[in-house]
């Protein structure tokens, strides 16, 4: 089943065209990796899919579970099961992490016509997840990402993902800034989400994450287009050879 279907997507920031004809299909059960040089448009693609204001889609379409994604608000996309893991998670001092988790879960439940989560069950689940991410409970009571180290912020993204169990997780460089142990923990977290009814898109620069979370497909994004797709061996090739040959061959 097609979870995400991107067709000829063009988008600009201000007057500057960034995405210039993206085509990508993610089926349930698949893990895709998107790689590509700095500035090629990977984060822009994530933001556009998340519905960020200021990113204007000028052409093309995106469907999520067969429905037009682009006409929905950011929060509707989220409650429908799309989760964006940020490359640079923003700090929100004063808003407790635990409060965000609860509000997010309840927003999702409300969209599904469910009642608010039972606090006791919620706390239990969150504590387990926090532990599984190698995080201390104290993180729950701090402001969202407030003063978190780079790696802690990324773990926090995965914690949210595991709680919200999105149908499609779009993880933008979740592996950057992680130490070796943390990379393992985060990878395990991602693998736990993996399943026949879910899709995962990993934006990454490094093969290392992909050796823990093996992708079904690897795509190379360059100047706003996917210029090459392949299986996991493409990432290995990149790691060994760098971008130049592939870019040359593609042009």
């Amino acid at each position: 089943m097609k979870l995400l279907d991107i067709h000829n997507l063009h988008a600009k920031i201000g007057e500057k065209p960034i995405l210039r004809g993206i085509n990508l299909t993610v089926n349930a059960g698949e893990v895709h990796a998107i790689m590509g040089p700095n500035g090629s448009g990977k984060s822009t693609l994530c933001q556009v899919l998340g519905g960020r204001e200021g990113y204007e889609v000028t052409e093309g379409s995106v469907h999520f579970e067969g429905q037009d994604l682009l006409e929905r608000s950011t929060e509707e996309r989220a409650t429908a099961g799309l989760l964006l893991g940020f490359q640079h998670p923003v700090e929100i001092p004063g808003v407790k992490n635990i409060y965000l988790l609860k509000e997010a879960l309840n927003a999702q439940r409300a969209a599904q016509g469910l009642s608010e989560v039972d606090t006791f069950a919620f706390m239990k689940q969150v504590r387990e997840l926090t532990k599984s991410m190698g995080m201390d409970d104290a993180f729950l009571h701090r402001g969202v990402n407030d003063g978190f180290s780079g790696g802690e912020k990324k773990r926090n993204e995965i914690l949210q993902m595991l709680l919200l169990q999105p149908k499609l997780a779009l993880l933008d460089e979740t592996d950057s800034g992680l130490d070796i142990d943390a990379l393992k923990i985060v990878s395990e977290g991602i693998n736990r989400l993996r399943g026949s009814d879910r899709g995962i898109v990993l934006v990454t620069h490094y093969q290392r994450l992909l050796s823990y979370v093996e992708p079904d497909f690897v795509h190379i994004l360059y100047q706003g287009r996917i210029i090459k797709s392949g299986d996991k061996s493409l990432a290995l090739q990149l790691e060994a050879e760098g971008y130049q040959d592939i870019l040359d061959a593609a042009s």
Binding site: G50, G51, R52, E53, G54, S73, T74, E75, R77, A78, T79, L83, L84, F86, P89, V90, I92, P93, G94, V95, K96, Y99, L100, E103, A104, A107, Q108, A111, G143, V144, Q160, L164
Partner: protein, 490 residues
């Protein structure tokens, strides 16, 4: 500055209905039929006010003295607020309570928009009617449980009544304390208030008594009609404790544009007064038309050793707010606290803060001020920490944070520090932050609406102050902020 909020002991709103009815029935409100004195202010008007209230001679003299002093004064211009000059001769200084004839007879006759707001604030149905100005006797029609409330207070020896009533029942206390914290000549608006004050609250907690419940203006029936020049006096004798709640989260409309209240608090040795306010007077429309001018003088005198005065305020309404609840820390080891959230939206102007005057030894003060500016509003914190020569080892901590929503508003900070004693320890922290699009987007991407996202950030920002409010007040205050800031983002 009127109205509701239930005490924790009598929180059931049905009981409140009874309560209101009872007090009304018992003629708590004096002279309901008085006519209005025509506009204008002179000694004859003041004599008339005093006569109508049947006041003792000393009070009339006090009013007249205040009036004569007021004549020599000019309105303050230092505050960061702008408004056309007020014609004091055009105001009416003795308006009888609104005629019931023109009052809406039921909720069906009330502006639906107002009712919508009440609903958003979670105000119980039957209370909405009273707030919307539906004639009270049409709303509250049952027997009373006030007895419990009044009996409990009486048993404890607490006096809680309208100021006018206290003038008759306890003139000696009034005479002893009135104007000893805010002298009639203190400032332009305080002088005006002293000359013409209409009514207000009087609280006296005798030695050693811990007031058995939180006192709220809600329980004083005629609070709703205290008029534009309210006067409140609270005295806590040695070792006494009281928590007093003033205000209402529901939007308050009033035909009087100028409100100039005075509040005086006095604590003797080891006494504590906690004074919490939620202010939500009509702020004017989106273009800045209309709205109340709220020029208030609030001051506490921590007269006794080890006594404590805490001001907590949530200021959301009024077109212009000019207000500096202050503490004179006279007693050794006395403590003053000021916790404030001031929200401004559209064209509102807020100039608020506090003065902590340290006179006694080892006196301590804490100031936590949170301002939130949206729309085209102007929001200023103005604070003075004064450490007198006599105040050995005094300490102050000030935290002053501003949160901006949008970029057409202004947040300003005017902290003044005067330390005359070298042993003083003064700490001042200030931050200015803005709700960023990134923050809102982050929360939205977790399924939270833009409005809720803003509220989450605002409430997080105000947490330190809300924590100081009595429980139910805190919950209402959160809802109030949400409503006040509605439409300010995006």
């Amino acid at each position: 500055m009127t109205d509701r909020t239930a005490s924790p002991t009598i929180s059931d709103s049905q009981e409140i209905e009874h309560l209101v009815q009872r007090e009304y029935k018992y003629g708590f409100t004096t002279d309901i039929e008085q006519e209005i004195i025509p506009p204008g202010l002179n000694e004859a008007v003041i004599r008339l006010i005093s006569a109508k209230k049947n006041e003792p001679e000393f009070l009339l003299e006090w009013r007249l003295k205040a009036y004569r002093h007021w004549l020599t004064m000019t309105p303050p211009t230092w505050a960061h607020v702008h408004y056309p000059p007020i014609d004091y001769q055009a105001l009416s200084y003795f308006a009888a309570p609104k005629s019931r004839e023109n009052a809406p007879k039921s909720l069906d006759e009330v502006d639906p928009k107002l009712l919508e707001t009440y609903a958003k604030l979670g105000i119980p149905l039957h209370e909405r009617a009273a707030l919307a100005g539906v004639a009270v006797d049409a709303v509250f029609d049952s027997v009373s449980v006030t007895t419990t409330f009044r009996e409990k207070l009486a048993e404890a020896g607490v006096i809680f009544c309208s100021f006018s009533e206290a003038v008759h029942s306890h003139p000696e206390i009034i005479r002893q304390y009135l104007g000893t914290v805010v002298p009639a000549s203190d400032n332009y608006y305080a002088a005006l208030n002293s000359a013409v004050f209409s009514d207000g609250s009087f609280v006296f907690i005798p030695k050693g008594v811990r007031c058995p419940m939180e006192l709220s203006t809600y329980f004083r029936i005629n609070a709703r009609n205290t008029g534009q020049f309210e006067r409140t006096l609270i005295i806590a004798e040695e070792g006494a404790h009281v928590s007093y709640l003033e205000g209402c989260t529901a939007p308050q409309r009033d035909e009087n544009q100028l409100h100039a209240a005075v509040v005086e608090l006095i604590t003797l040795d080891d006494a504590t007064i906690k004074y919490s306010t939620v202010q939500n007077w009509y702020p004017g429309d989106e273009e800045g038309k209309g709205g109340i001018y709220n020029f208030v003088t609030k001051r506490g005198d921590a007269r006794g050793a080890r006594s404590k005065i805490t001001w907590t305020q949530v200021e959301a309404g009024s077109a212009i707010t000019w207000k500096y609840p202050s503490c004179i820390l006279r007693g050794d080891d006395s403590v003053g606290e000021f916790y404030s959230v001031a929200v401004s939206n559209n064209y509102q102007q807020v100039d608020s803060g506090t003065k902590m005057i340290h006179l006694g030894k080892r006196t301590r003060s804490t100031i936590v001020s949170k301002s939130i500016s949206a729309g085209r509003s102007q929001n200023s914190y103005r604070g003075l920490v004064h450490i007198a020569k006599s105040a050995d080892d005094a300490r102050n901590f000030t935290q002053c944070d501003a949160l901006l929503i949008g970029d057409r508003n202004g947040a300003h900070t005017f902290p003044y520090i005067e330390a005359k004693n070298p042993s003083a320890q003064i700490e001042h922290e200030a931050t200015t932050s803005k709700i960023s699009d990134d923050q809102i987007f982050y929360l939205q991407s977790r399924g939270i609406s833009e409005e809720n996202a803003t509220n989450m950030i605002v409430n997080g920002f105000c947490k330190d102050v809300f924590n100081e409010l009595p429980m139910e007040f805190a919950v209402e205050a959160q809802a109030l902020l949400a409503v006040s800031l509605e439409g300010s983002v995006g």
